[in-house]
Amino acid sequence: MLPVTGAGLVLLLPHVLAPYWLFIANLALIYAVAAVGLNIILGFSGQFSLAHAAFYALGAYTTALLTIKLGAPFWLSLPAGAVTATVIGALVAIPALRLGGLFLAMATFAFNQTVEWILLQWVGLTSGPDGLPVPRPALGAFVFASDVSLYYLALVVASALILAASRITRSRIGRTLIAVRDSSVAARSLGVDVERYRIVAFVLSAFYAGVAGGLYANVVLFLFPAMSGLLQVTLFLLMVIIGGLGSVAGAVWGAVVLTGVSEVIRSFKALQEVVYGVLLVLFIVFMPHGIGPGLRTAVGRLRERVRSRGLEPWGLPVTAGKPRPEDPADGQR
């Protein structure tokens, strides 16, 4: 029952939302794809890659440039953009994954900033800091002229990819990645080709980022070099951290929540930086496994307190003092 209503809601959404909120919904779909991709490398595979925004931007710019310079239709340029991001991802993965850990973080960080620098400097190709406007996608004679039609486009692509991610993570590949993440030594002793699976995870996440970027190009219709910037990386990181690493659903609604937040503080870069920074620190310190487990822990602790001490600490009548069998684990009882 619930999935059906949910699906119905999602399908009817563009017709009930005001245009601004529809735009945000589109953005949320795009970010969901990117977040799910980051989750594959960071959450399931446990590799600290800071290059996600670079692949996202590469996918976006490739898609856009293919459409602008070569006149390719979106159903060609989008996959081509994704494939480009994937290939570059493979090229980066092969040397970088030999070390992993913090070296991977530093190397991918440097790669990410370098891509942003290239996008900024190669003005002839990318229009640099002015940004790159993208023509609307078209399917033959039908032009995606409204945000509503773009929503359905984004929805189709996003749902396909999110479902695929869900399948993959539940499959043998997913379990192997988790095994590699938790103990590469143990996995290796079981005959797992650790290097290959790490590359697979990296390449897969680059693919997702590339698709998200290509979608962005075709839905938001305007690109800028900061898409590859550290702020974008931080936004993606926040999405998977808040939603909970290692959970596809978590990544999706982390993306939804953060899209809302990012739109609210959109116009003030300084505010964005401070807010994202504070959120990042708070979540890493207090709820590193995401809001779900974080809340559950908090509620659990609250419940424990009430059970062991009644409601007195809060000045309320003792109604919870039901006699209980002696439990040695209860401490001073």
């Binding site: 446990g46 590799q47 600290f48 040397p95 970088a96 030999r98 070390l99 992993g100 850990g101 913090l102 070296f103 991977l104 973080a105 530093m106 190397a107 960080f109 440097a110 790669f111 900033q113 370098t114 620098w117 400097q121 590469s184 550290l230 702020l231 931080t234 990181l237 951290i241 870069k269 300084a270 505010l271 964005q272 930086e273 401070v274 807010v275 994202y276 920074g277 504070v278 959120l279 990042l280 620190v281 890493i284 310190v285 590193p288």
Partner: protein, 296 residues
């Protein structure tokens, strides 16, 4: 030949700055196993506080502004260590590094909120003159940077080798448990490591003076610091970090002189890739790489 030497000497100017930053990061890593992604922002903070102290209504003379800047950087770093890294003491390294990224954004955004994004021109510390040194032209600013940089690194060496506090810090880096057993206040050593490396970063920010503009994005120099550390194998080795920094500065300048100025900015990244591919431990790394948190 003179052209080459000229490039080398000018490259040392940037190189000293990279060395200061790299040594700072290496110090924090050695003491706490954390790679501080906020080091670039400490550098930026040092520059902002110093130059704005001198230029704005405060009109501080050079030395008080310097003191204020170093104090601000040290306090910020100590706060970051206490509030962010201390609670994460047992957590996986990834979490702590993400936390330092968060700190870097808080600092960057904070500076941007207060002083805006528009780059402000520095006022040079003194008039720039050039000096002839054995047939090579060096600017006085460049000489100051090199001398201050080398001097500070030398002081640091003396501190670690010969002072009690320095030895306590080394002990903490080598074996935290043994240090605790010896009565060393390990948590204070952590704060000290952060504060000290923040001071190094702030000095770098102050020295970079007329070479660049004052803007919140200055922290981007972090990539160069990482490259310096990877090249020099500096994660377990402060001397390696310093040498890596100087080397990076020189190579960058050689690239700019012989190949293309435009490609100069790509040098750090290219070098990172090359070094990681060929000799991941860097020039002076002692093979610790494979046993440390740098590798999964």
């Amino acid at each position: 030949m003179t052209f080459f030497l000229q490039l080398v000497v000018s490259g040392l100017i940037n190189g000293c700055l990279y060395a200061l930053l790299a040594v700072g990061i290496a110090m924090i890593f050695k003491a706490t196993q954390i790679v501080n992604f906020a080091q670039g922002e400490l550098f930026m903070l040092g520059a902002y506080v110093h130059f704005l102290g001198m230029l704005t209504a405060l009109r501080l003379p050079f030395l008080p502004a310097l003191a204020l800047s170093l104090a601000a950087a040290a306090v910020t770093a100590a706060l970051a260590e206490r509030l962010v890294c201390r609670p994460l003491l047992g957590a996986p390294i990834v979490s702590v590094v993400i936390a330092t990224i968060g700190v870097s954004f808080i600092l960057k955004g904070g500076v941007r909120l207060v002083w805006g994004s528009v780059p402000l021109p520095f006022r040079p510390l003194f008039e720039t003159r050039t000096v002839m040194l054995g047939g090579l032209v060096v600017s006085t600013q460049g000489l100051v940077i090199i001398c201050t940089g080398l001097g500070l690194l030398g002081l640091l060496y003396v501190f670690f080798q010969f002072t009690k506090l320095g030895k306590m810090m080394r002990a903490t880096s080598e074996n935290r448990t043994a240090a605790v057993l010896m009565g060393i206040n390990v948590k204070r050593m952590f704060s000290l490591a952060w504060a000290l490396s923040a001071v190094l970063a702030a000095v770098g920010g102050i020295l970079i003076g007329p070479l660049v503009q004052l803007e919140p994005e200055m922290g981007i120099i972090l990539i160069a610091a990482f490259a310096a550390l990877i090249i020099g194998g500096g994660f377990g080795n402060l001397a390696g970090a310093a040498v890596g920094g100087m080397l990076l500065g020189v190579v960058e300048n050689l690239v700019s002189g012989y190949i293309s100025t435009a490609l100069q900015s790509l040098t750090p990244f290219v070098l990172i890739v090359v070094v990681l591919a060929i000799r991941p431990t860097g020039l002076f790394g002692r093979g610790e790489v494979y046993r440390s948190h740098l590798v999964s």
